[in-house]
């Protein structure tokens, strides 16, 4: 890391997230103008976008090479009142809260109070959305059965492919003009709508060009006043870069990065999209520029590294837009999930790992920033050296990069009907979500609380937390004679709540298509231009809606506990179990210990439990997969939680697996914390029984201490563990390298960390099984290895 990058990195680390009223003021000002009222919706959106880009502050941070900020300063974060109004109470709460705070000053609050809130009241999408939901939807939402992604943020969830490295905005405009010219009002009843949408797209393309030019002008202005000749030269170079992009296709490495960055800003200024807009397969996109630059002497490995590092800082300057309420609970983080994909396959099916892939891994390791997030795609054809290099970075313990199975991703996408080439050009975004990059709108609609649905099943449709009837009457749980009868009742409840969720999502999808189209994003995603249709309305080549299942480990262990103890062995009755659950196990510690320690659990390569996991999987899959969405897409499942497992845990009482009321449910597809006691190979065998290919992504988290990864043997072991999981067609695995602090927690609460394996000396053991003296020694060693 050179001196400049150290400085830029410090700038972003020290910048404090604040609320900026800039965008809200501009969009409000625009919408207030009487002449905008008669515009078609897409044109009004497009012109609002142009108004923001024409008037927002142009920001140059000291010493930077890639330019442009979403707000008026790094981490000055806009709000999107047309989607969600932040009340004064919200602003104060955001300011004061301990985690993921956003500061706001008096002046900002005044502007919100006087200008923004009064104008948007009743006109924001959030107001429309809740008004349009039915009572059963509201009940289930309030009970914590599911969450709703689009109540504060616009649909997004797409990733860019390689088109912007071959075409500039002027080229996109030519495509748009061709599509306009081809419209025939005589034969196409949607021709007028298409015309308005396409005109809006053209306005957006022009707006981004003008935004680039404003940066070129600013660079020249700064260069004129710059005394340092080196910086002056840099600013002149930046001006040249911004003269070229985004109007025209980039010619070199620098222009390619700046091109992407302008496009990225466009997307995240147009809306607060959920989420993860990102360049995707960065090593593949940049490779031609990298190789050409090295060949003609305009680029060196070091200058490429510096540009990439400067690019990295830009992501970290843009925290996820402020979230409140349930949205904050399900995704309590500053990260906006831009997930850089490295490695994988080329579109002809050959290995895509190249020199730049390794250089990007170096950048990830050196920068050690929250954003962008990063992942490696590992295909069976890829070299072990690449995976080993990634594991070396994993060892440093900041959770990046996560590790994905390219071959599974390709199969998943092909199963959904994508062409194999589109699938190979795809990857994962967000946490683990598979998509055909540049060609798919894959909208995450919300998390679904599987353990909660079982709780409601035991209550014969009543939520025991509130006493409210929100589910079906599937029968008194004490009356089920067999486990199969009980499971059938659960299956019906799952279907019932999925129906409610889908009904809601189908309406919400129309609300966005109708009121808040995204003409700029539509320029970027195939085939919105060719179809003359908005991204939100089904213009993309592929359209998917996901409902993200949460608590797979918990629900499996719950079913196992009930089947094993009530139906198979008669250790206790259903009535006894329900009494224990109602009492949160107080006075029922024997029963609790039996379900904790004497009952088959998911994650131990034990078919008794694992077969229940596959049964839940099938029930959930059947309830969701294949259902149509209004925009011509299809509902799919994936299994990931972000932080929803904590929120859902809060909303769910004690469960039959021994979990206490309010404790988190299991996360992703990982076993319940502490339930997997046979080591990582057993976890992987259990997870290998899941048909990942029928999902759009699953998330497996494994904890290791740094010692387990310290030497070559440890890394090779892990490499083979990953390769084996991927042979079983596992989708994703990430390694949490534990800290000394976590070990101390485990020492204090051993029952929650029965799965934590540590390297002792010459062997590994469960941490909680080590004597206190040895535990202390391991904690000291871990501390010593932490950076």
């Amino acid at each position: 890391m050179n001196e400049r990058i150290v400085r830029l990195r410090n700038q972003t680390l020290e910048a404090k997230p604040t609320i900026s009223a800039e965008r809200a003021v501009l969009v409000t000002e625009f919408y207030k103008r009487p002449e905008t009222r008669g515009l078609s919706v897409p044109m009004r959106r497009a012109l609002a976008f142009r108004h923001i880009l024409e008037n927002k502050a142009i920001v140059f941070n000291d010493g930077e090479l890639i330019v442009g900020e979403r707000g008026p300063a790094p981490k000055a974060t806009p709000t999107y009142p047309e989607v969600c109004i932040h009340s004064l109470q919200d602003l104060r709460y955001l300011h004061d809260r301990k985690k993921t705070a956003f500061a706001s000053d008096e002046e900002t609050r005044r502007v919100y109070a006087e200008e923004i809130i009064p104008f948007w009241q009743g006109r924001s999408q959030r107001d429309r959305l809740f008004a349009a939901m039915t009572k059963d939807w509201i009940d289930a939402y309030e009970a914590g059965v599911f969450t709703e992604f689009m109540e504060q943020r616009a649909p997004g969830h797409t990733v860019l492919d390689g088109k912007i490295y071959r075409k500039g905005m002027l080229d996109f405009k030519k495509d748009i003009e061709r599509a306009l010219a081809a419209l025939d009002v005589l034969t196409d009843p949607a021709a007028y709508d298409k015309q308005e949408e396409l005109k809006g797209m053209a306005v957006c393309a022009d707006a981004l060009i003008a935004f680039g030019r404003r940066h070129a002008d600013k660079a020249r202005e700064l260069a004129a006043g710059e005394k340092d000749p080196v910086r002056k030269g840099e600013l002149e170079r930046i001006a040249e870069v911004c003269d070229r992009v985004p109007a025209e296709a980039p010619r070199d490495f620098w222009e390619a990065l700046q091109m992407y960055w302008f496009v990225h800003l466009g997307v995240i200024i147009e809306y607060n999209t959920w989420d993860s807009f990102n360049p995707g397969r960065l090593d593949q996109h940049l490779r031609p520029f990298y190789e050409r630059g090295l060949a003609d002497g305009t680029l060196t490995k070091d200058s490429a590294r510096e540009l990439l590092q400067a690019f990295w800082v830009k992501f970290n300057n843009q925290p996820a837009p402020p979230k409140v309420g349930v949205t904050a609970e399900e995704s309590g983080t500053y990260t906006d999930f831009a997930l850089i994909n490295v490695g994988g396959l080329k579109e002809d099916g050959t290995d895509g790992v190249n020199e730049l892939s390794y250089l990007i891994l170096d950048v990830i390791q050196e920068m050690r920033l929250l954003q962008p997030s990063s992942m490696v795609q590992i295909s069976a054809k890829g070299p072990d050296a690449f995976l080993l290099r990634a594991l070396e970075i994993v060892r440093t313990g900041f959770g990046q990069p996560s590790i994905f199975n390219t071959d599974a991703i390709v199969q998943e996408l092909v199963r959904q009907g994508k062409s194999v080439v589109d699938a190979r050009n795809g990857g994962c975004s967000g946490c683990v979500e598979a998509g055909a990059f540049g060609k798919e709108a894959y909208i995450l609609t919300g998390y679904f609380n599987l353990p909660k649905v079982f709780e409601i099943t035991l209550g014969n449709g009543v939520d025991p937390r509130t006493g409210k009837r929100i589910g079906l009457e599937t029968g008194d749980s004490e009356g089920f004679k067999t486990f199969d009868e009980l499971f059938e009742a659960f299956r019906k409840q799952v279907r019932h709540f999925v129906d409610i969720k889908v009904r809601g999502s189908n309406v919400i999808e129309r609300l966005y298509a109708t009121y808040l189209p995204a003409p700029f994003l539509s320029v970027l995603v195939d085939d919105c231009v060719a179809n003359g249709k908005d991204y939100h309305a089904g213009g993309a080549r592929y359209n998917s809606n996901y409902i993200q299942g949460v608590g797979m480990g918990t629900i499996t262990d719950v079913l196992s506990a009930v089947r094993y103890n009530v139906y198979d062995h008669g250790h206790f009755t259903m009535a006894g179990l329900r009494e224990a659950l109602a009492a949160n196990f107080a006075g029922h510690e024997g029963l609790r210990q039996r379900v904790l320690n004497r009952t088959p659990k998911f994650g131990n390569d034990d078919d008794y439990a694992d077969s229940l996991m596959t049964r839940v999987f099938e029930a959930y899959f059947e309830a969701v997969d294949g259902r149509p969405t209004p925009r011509g897409g299809t509902y799919r499942i994936n299994l990931l939680p972000t932080t929803a497992h904590i929120y859902f845990g809060k909303m769910t009482g004690a469960t039959a697996d021994g979990r206490l009321a309010g404790d988190a449910v299991s996360e992703g597809v990982s076993p319940v914390q502490g339930a997997d006691r046979k080591g990582p190979t057993a976890v992987i065998k259990s997870l290998g029984k899941m048909d990942h290919i029928r999902t759009g992504g699953t998330l497996l988290n494994q904890k290791f201490t740094p010692q387990l990864l310290a030497d070559e043997t440890g890394r090779r072991g892990l490499k083979d563990l990953v390769r084996s999981y991927f042979k079983l067609m596992g989708h994703h695995i990430q390694f949490n390298v534990v800290t000394a602090d976590l070990l101390r927690t485990a020492q204090a609460q051993p029952e929650k960390y029965r799965d934590l394996i540590v390297r002792v000396a010459g062997y590994s053991d469960y941490f909680v099984d080590c004597g206190t003296e040895l535990q202390n020694e391991i904690i000291r060693r871990t501390e010593h290895q932490e950076i």
């Binding site: 320690n597 065998k685 072991g717 563990l721 084996s724 010459g762 062997y763 003296e773």
Partner: protein, 312 residues
Amino acid sequence: MDGNGERSPKTLSGWVFDIKRYSIHDGPGIRTTVFLKGCALRCLWCHNPESLAPGPELMHWTGRCARCHACVRACPRGAISADAAGAIAIDRSKCDLCGRCADACLYDAMQIVGRRMSVDEVMAEVEKDRLFYEQSGGGVTLSGGDPLVQAGFAEAILDACRARGLSTALDTAGWSPNGALERLARKADVVLFDLKCVDETRHRELTGVSSAPILANLERLAAAGPEIWVRVPLVGGVNDDDGNIRRTIEVLRPLEAVKRIGLLPYHAGGADKARRIGAGPPVREFEAPAEARIAAIESAFRDAGFEVRRGG
């Protein structure tokens, strides 16, 4: 203990005290290590005191104990009692290891360590991770105690592994007066050979047996050809002195089959385990050599041409 006379893998059985999956330091690749009970040595610093006796033992985990006294009630021989504070005491002279206390204890604070398993049962367990062995070049490691103590059982497991195409490793302390080592080593792809101390007198003091047959076995084994990984536990002030290291190198240098040395610094895990089986406190306190000392030993072996790994 050997199940002599019963030759079928279904009925031939032995005492196993642990089966550990994802062992990556007990031979090449990802392995499953099967720990057999019984050891001929009595190393004063033993890390696994529950492995020493050839048969099962009752282990009590005080940290897990909820003092519910289900074990006291379950014991048919009155071997378990609770003191005024509720803490459990076991009269091991009365205990016949029936295991009812362990069944009754839902906290897993009472456990019978040592389970009689047939060869088939062991194989069913090790087969579970075949995928990982095939990916990594790993396989099955027999460890202990010392597998030589249950040589017939150990040999049958090795045979079964070979018949199923699983790679094998034998982890042994090398004290084998009756030729068991050679018999078993022929069926192992790698032998992990522990060498605690070269000096005869000191070895006897520290482990209870002479080093001479161990060294002779090592030489014979090296001539027979299997790959040998020598493992040296390093105990501060006990065997980490220049003299012992120098003599160890002198012994190992001529042996072509020994290319790799694993250094295992002492750790305090054994004392707790000893308490759990009622073996009382260790006769002496031990400690790991200082980091600088371990590093010096590492380079001494490295300079002598060995590949050195810390921790196996």
